[in-house]
Symmetry: C2
Subunit: 339 residues, 2 copies
């Protein structure tokens, strides 16, 4: 058992953890450990909006070249959001552990990505959290996803999980700060190009599930008990989230290299504040139902082959970049304009 | 909107509230406001264990005299626990706002209460929290129950509720302390008299519901959706609570003056620590189900005639008295011996 906050990021707390030192979580979880040399990472969501009915296919050639080229990301993956009768959104998320390399890459590839768009929409949503500003949690010490692919490995079992508030307690900056700087959104329009500039911090959560390895009975529980609640929660956030502080939400299915859907999915949510994300996850019936069903499944079986993970970041205005080109008005943070 | 902590008990926080100052609860709740002159209260649970099948009846004459006599409590109420084929437990809980008056009363009435027991068992469970050491929460600003009857009235809507952690944040001592001093139980036996002495703090929750005023549809939701979950949670704590820090639990129905059951009930739980009570209430499926059903009912109707309240105290070893006479071995803290 160890702290989710690594030794080199531990400072004397002026804000105590929500649980006492003698707290023991009901089940094990693990966090990704980035090398001590990593000071800041970059998470870049590169979105493409394709006409309804389009197959996502493989990575477009220009993007594939950019990702594999100089200063490219350490890791990327792709996912799609299937909206009935809507456009097909394909999101490539790329991770860097060197912000300077990202800056060079972005300077070269941002404009082509947003301009040469094959008649569809394109966007970029980028944050660059310092290592003090994000946390991860995984149910198993293998098959890292998302920012965890940049890590050098996983921790031992950590103490700060399996209670409401663990998310905050795992973020190193929460040792001394409230992670609370809410603000509205400013907008700059130039033709079909739109920059959105939050005036305060934003909070990003990527929260994923992988049911590839589940045995038939677990798969049934996931697909028939957990997933419908998950979908209802995602639907709620997408359509009605703004009133409770969720700027935008997507529920994505991960694609393989050929653009086929896999048995992995993730929710991607932009929040005005971590506090509002906390309140939703702790109190919304759909999320409580997910939490309860998962807890019951683990309690009944002792363990599970259903893999869950998330990563949560809170970053200030100078660590964000939101830009949309030719996208419909409900895309990403565009849906939150006027808030 | 105001703080649950009254101005005269507010001190600079060294431990921040769990929610930011801009948090707005989803529905209103209120706390009891004791007069500034009240420094400490006493909560005395006087239990009687009657043979199976006995009707509780009215207050026994000797107790009625004691309660109405010199130095008697400011308020008391009675409740019973109906255990199938078990003894009938009748609990009179009395509240004082003057510990010195209680001391004189207890010196006079403790021995008779525990000795002249009509062939049944008797017990006393007493704590004397300072006003910094307890909190209350009510869904409506009327009909106080429990310690709130000692108050001079209710607050306006308070900020610290409708999130996990509000309970702690409402206790004034949480502004600067962890409220965490877990310890085991020592025991002293003398014939059929047993004193139990916790070595650390204990946490007491009285958590009640009153469905007297509910309209037929609300009553149905309460009785068919909420109450079965409540009962399952109470059953779990009574039979299996010790492993998660619950020393003892009772689920009681309030009695009227003639000893007839009313449409009011409460759960009475002794916990090793507030932290363990927090973990249970936040994560146990039965309690989450209660929380979700209640939230859905309030959200759907805008308000409810179902009245909910609770009071929670955390007190050190010198503010406790647990004594059992001729009781069965699962009574109160006796069930937790050896822990």
């Amino acid at each position: 058992m160890e702290s989710a906050i690594p030794a080199h990021l531990t400072v004397p707390r002026t804000r105590p953890s929500r649980v006492p030192d003698d707290f023991r979580p009901a089940y094990p979880s693990f966090v990704a450990r980035t090398p001590e040399s990593t000071a800041q990472v970059v998470m870049a969501y590169l979105g493409a909006q394709l006409p309804a009915g389009t197959e996502p296919g493989g990575v477009p050639a220009a993007l594939a070249q950019a990702l594999a080229g100089p200063d490219g990301p350490a890791h990327h993956d792709r996912a799609t959001q299937v909206v009935r009768d809507g456009p097909v959104d394909v999101v490539t998320v790329a991770y860097w552990d060197d912000p300077a390399a990202f800056d060079r890459w972005f300077a070269r590839h941002r404009e082509p990505w947003l301009t040469d768009r094959d008649g569809g929409g394109r966007w970029v949503e980028v944050i660059r959290p310092r290592v003090e500003e994000f946390e991860t949690i995984f149910g198993a010490r293998s098959r890292p996803e998302g920012v965890a692919v940049l890590a050098e490995g996983f921790s031992d079992q950590v103490r700060e999980h399996a209670y409401w508030g663990g998310m905050r307690d795992r973020i190193p900056a929460s040792q001394t700060g409230p992670l609370h700087d809410p603000g509205g959104l400013d907008v700059e329009r130039d033709g079909d190009r739109v920059r959105v500039r939050p005036r305060g911090s934003v909070c990003l959560i990527r929260s994923g599930q992988d049911w590839t390895d589940t045995a038939p009975d677990e798969r049934e529980i996931y697909l028939e008990d957990i997933e419908p609640n998950l979908r209802a929660g995602m639907d709620f956030l997408e359509s009605d989230g703004l009133g409770i502080g969720c700027f935008a939400n997507r529920y994505l299915t991960v694609l393989d290299a050929d653009g086929r859907t896999t048995e992995r999915s993730y929710g991607l949510s932009w929040w005005r504040t971590l506090a509002e994300l906390e309140r939703w996850s702790e109190s919304h019936p759909t999320h409580l139902a997910i939490f309860s069903s998962f807890g019951r499944m683990v309690a009944a079986r002792g363990s599970t082959k259903l893999r869950l993970y998330h990563e949560v970041s809170v970053v200030g205005p100078d660590e964000q970049w939101f830009e949309y080109a030719g996208c419909h008005e409900r895309t990403g943070l565009l849906a939150a304009l006027g808030s």
